[in-house]
């Protein structure tokens, strides 16, 4: 075959080419400068600014947004916690952390944000179920085991889970709400003794209705 009778120099050239192409290539570290995030949002229908209008980004007057204690400036949603809930120090993962006490005991409310792509709904509901000793459910059971709550322009999937009571103790209850917003999955969870959480259920649902986008 003619190809196999090619001069040695041709073979050497091709071998060198292969070695060159398979050699170690270290991807470089890129560095660049960007404007501060987030960039200013826009209004869908920009209107001329009225005299005395508030500066851009200022929360509207007369709403609870004025004394919004919760999320950091980087968070894409904001909320207003009930007055009787006490804010707790934020852990490394929590974007919001509250505690509430009533005659039945103490309940803990946590707000966490994770990447939506890695945190599917069913998997997280089953994770909550596992935390209180309930068996996982299937995707087919999900509609019957969850509900939808429409808040301030946002839609939550909610669950009400009560675990089996331990010997001589009270059952643990989780009121959970999951919100998928863009690439973020927000988890709102109220957990504690069954009766304590049950007493806080109306407050928790009202709290969810205050959750809304940080930018209008």
């Amino acid at each position: 075959m003619t190809l196999l009778r090619a001069p040695r120099s041709i073979g050497a050239t091709i071998a060198a080419l292969i070695l060159l192409l398979t050699g170690c290539r270290e991807e470089p570290v890129r560095t660049y400068r960007t404007s501060k995030e987030p960039l200013p949002p826009v209004e869908p229908a920009p209107a001329p600014a009225a005299a005395g209008a508030l500066p851009a980004g200022h929360p509207p007057l007369g709403t609870e947004a004025m004394n919004m204690p919760a999320a950091s400036a980087a968070d894409s949603i904001i909320w207003a916690a009930p007055d009787h809930w006490a804010a707790k120090p934020l852990g490394a993962m929590r974007r919001g952390s509250f505690t509430t006490r009533n005659e039945h005991g103490e309940a803990d409310c946590s707000i966490i944000v994770l990447a939506a792509a890695q945190n599917p709904l069913l998997e997280n509901i089953n994770r909550w179920r596992g935390q209180i000793g309930l068996t996982p459910i299937s995707a087919a059971q999900l509609p019957a085991e969850s509900a939808t709550l429409d808040g301030a322009g946002l839609s939550f999937t909610t669950v009400d889970l009560v675990g089996p009571p331990p010997a001589g103790g009270a059952a643990t209850r989780i009121l959970g709400a999951i919100l998928y917003r863009g690439e973020e999955a927000w988890f709102f969870k109220l957990t504690g003794p069954d009766a304590a959480v049950a007493a806080e259920q109306p407050a928790f649902l009202d709290f969810l209705r205050t959750v809304r986008p940080a930018t209008p």
Binding site: V29, R33, T34, A115, Q118, G182
Partner: protein
């Protein structure tokens, strides 16, 4: 030297080489198709077709060896083979113009694929209604981004590709007093809260949320509807020694911050960002349906385009088959989510997007010319035969002149 060059060109123009390369291409397609079960379509494309040499890791070792020519090498040699054959065998004459054009079109098609493979970048831009962004996120590449957020006006970003984290060697950041030492890297991982796994080993993390999270390495997934969560523990070292170790993972979107040498840094493992010199804001996303049904009729995004130097500020409507082309990027309406409040635009930068069109036009014209020439020659011969009183193709018609020469 001249003889060697001529010998090389003759070998490269050989029809045997064409056949060998075509066989290699067929084998490449077969083994890539079989490996698609393990790697998925995108990884297979990168490994077998958009590479010069296919590299395979020896089982049980960390040693990788080249074991088969990749798509670029086979395609590149086919291109050289075609060009060499063209210049050696075909004479430049009006009769051959059609063949020249057709071959040039095929060569251009091969070049176009090479340009697309090497230079095109595919990414996505996700925008909530009212949101503004000046960057897209790469579809497949991930980065460890270290951002100096100290300055009130701008952020300085260092983007470390994940391939550097896999090598677990110290990484210097140009112009930054920090050095990164990757401690552990996992292509995919699951996570548990430490309080849910009290017997888990201690976390290497000394900064950020990694202290409260247990990382469980997971096998990489190649399913099209799933995404890996690459995860790393990285140690930051400043001029005065170690600053601390942090967990960075794609699964947790929020950046973590720490202070070193008087500067504040935010760390996040995220999809690689591609910044534009303009921004897009989503004014409205529309999901139109046919009246009285749930059947989608149209998806469209009304966006506001603003250049960074304020020289351009206009509204654009992007909908199916009507992309926005700006600054070398093409924005296609790709998807939506979040109850129609969020749009997903596919962003493609492909400097060679016109080449396949040009190649097809050239090949088409070449074939048209060549067939037209043959047709006219046939008609001319046919008329001459009729004028001579014989029926072309009949048993009594004379044989072509070339036949008589034998």
């Amino acid at each position: 030297m001249r003889a060697l060059l001529r010998s090389l060109v003759e070998h490269l123009a050989s029809l045997r080489l064409t056949i060998v390369l075509l066989v290699l291409a067929i084998v490449l397609v077969v083994i890539a198709t079989l490996d698609q079960v393990h790697l998925g379509i995108w990884a297979v494309q990168a490994k077998y077709f958009r590479s010069f040499v296919v590299v395979q890791q020896l089982p049980g070792t960390g040693v990788s060896i080249p074991f088969f020519p990749g798509g670029y090498l086979v395609g590149g040699l086919l291109l050289i083979n075609l060009l060499c054959a063209q210049f050696l065998r075909f004479r430049l004459s009006w009769r051959n113009v059609g063949l020249h054009l057709t071959h040039f079109g095929i060569a251009l098609l091969l070049v176009g694929e090479l340009v697309t493979g090497l230079l095109s970048v595919e990414s996505h831009l996700t925008l909530d209604t009212g949101e503004t962004r000046n960057y897209a996120e790469a579809a497949f590449q991930r980065e460890l981004a270290i951002t100096d957020i100290t300055d009130p006006v701008f952020d300085q970003v260092w983007s470390v590709p994940l391939s550097r984290l896999e090598r677990r060697e110290p990484i210097a950041l140009p112009g930054c007093p920090l050095t990164i030492l990757p401690i552990q890297f996992f292509p995919n991982a699951n996570f548990f809260m430490r309080r849910d796994a009290p017997n888990a080993p201690a976390s290497p993390a000394t900064l950020g949320f990694g202290q409260q999270v247990v990382v469980q390495p997971a096998a990489p997934t190649y399913r099209p509807n799933e995404e890996n969560a690459p995860t790393a523990f990285v140690e930051f070292r400043g001029p005065d020694g170690p600053v601390g170790t942090m967990l960075a993972t794609l699964a947790i979107a929020q950046p973590q911050t720490f202070t070193a040498a008087g500067r504040t840094y935010a760390v996040a493992l995220r999809r690689t960002r591609i910044y534009f010199d303009f921004s897009l804001s989503l004014l409205e996303f529309r999901h139109d349906k046919y009246p009285g049904t749930e059947i989608p009729r149209n998806f469209s995004s009304r966006v506001r385009l603003r250049s960074s130097d304020a020289s351009e500020d206009r509204e654009v409507r992007i909908f199916m088959n009507n992309p926005l082309r700006h600054g070398g990027y093409t924005f296609y309406q790709s998807g939506f989510k979040n109850d129609d409040r969020t749009t997903i635009l596919q962003v493609v930068r492909n400097p060679g997007w016109l080449i396949p069109y040009l190649a097809c036009v050239l090949s088409g014209l070449g074939l048209l010319y060549h067939f037209a020439l043959s047709l006219f020659a046939f008609i001319k011969r046919d008329r001459a035969a009729v004028a001579g009183g014989t029926v072309p193709g009949s048993p009594t018609s004379p044989r072509p002149a070339t036949g008589g020469a034998r």
